[in-house]
Symmetry: C2
Subunit: 118 residues, 2 copies
């Protein structure tokens, strides 16, 4: 079996190329965290919430009205965004105001919008 040729015999793969890539790959735990991050962004409701928060902080009730969904559903998604540290929140009296936690999320969503617009 030659080094220069993929033989993809599947029982006897080009072992060195495979092992080289395996060595370069990030750890499974890192990949899982990356996938989890993208998964959080990969729901239309959450995408819409994040786009809403691009304009500034907003309370749960108003977000529910922007999305046309129940407060319960919105609260659930906000909880997910909060646990993933994609949004920050502060309480002001009876209301809880949510906002984007940092510029990284903003940049990511804007990249996504750009990607779609081409």
């Amino acid at each position: 079996m030659s080094h220069n040729k993929y033989s993809c015999d599947c029982n006897i793969v080009h072992r060195e190329a495979v092992e080289q890539v395996i060595k370069c790959l990030p750890a499974d735990e890192v990949l899982a965290r990356v996938a989890e991050f993208f998964k959080i962004l990969g729901d239309p409701t959450r995408t819409k919430i994040i786009c809403t928060l691009l304009e500034g902080e907003m309370c749960v009730c108003d977000i529910a009205n922007v999305l046309g969904m129940t407060k319960s559903a919105v609260s659930h998604q906000l909880g997910m965004l909060r646990r993933a540290d994609l949004v920050a929140f502060r309480r002001e009296g009876k209301n809880v105001f949510y906002s984007l936690s940092d510029g990284h999320v903003r940049g990511m969503i804007e990249s996504g919008l750009e990607h779609v617009h081409q």
Copy 2:
């Protein structure tokens, strides 16, 4: 306004803010495409495939060996990545070699890795 304000179960707290944000939001169809794009990236198997392809093109069988999964499972995910235009492919004899379709995907994955490493 095409938005259905009656599908929400509570009153608007800051009416002007809500209506302003609704006006600024990208169209639902755009948001759906963005969410779909992130959803594709949001699976550990697909993330791993994309990281594998960061090193260069590779055939299905070798990818399956890198991931330690069946060729069927890998082919399913490659099909999804292909239909979403995240990967390109070329046939060479019996083998099909996959590669990243453009720098945008690479940049996005690298941003994701960066985000996780902090």
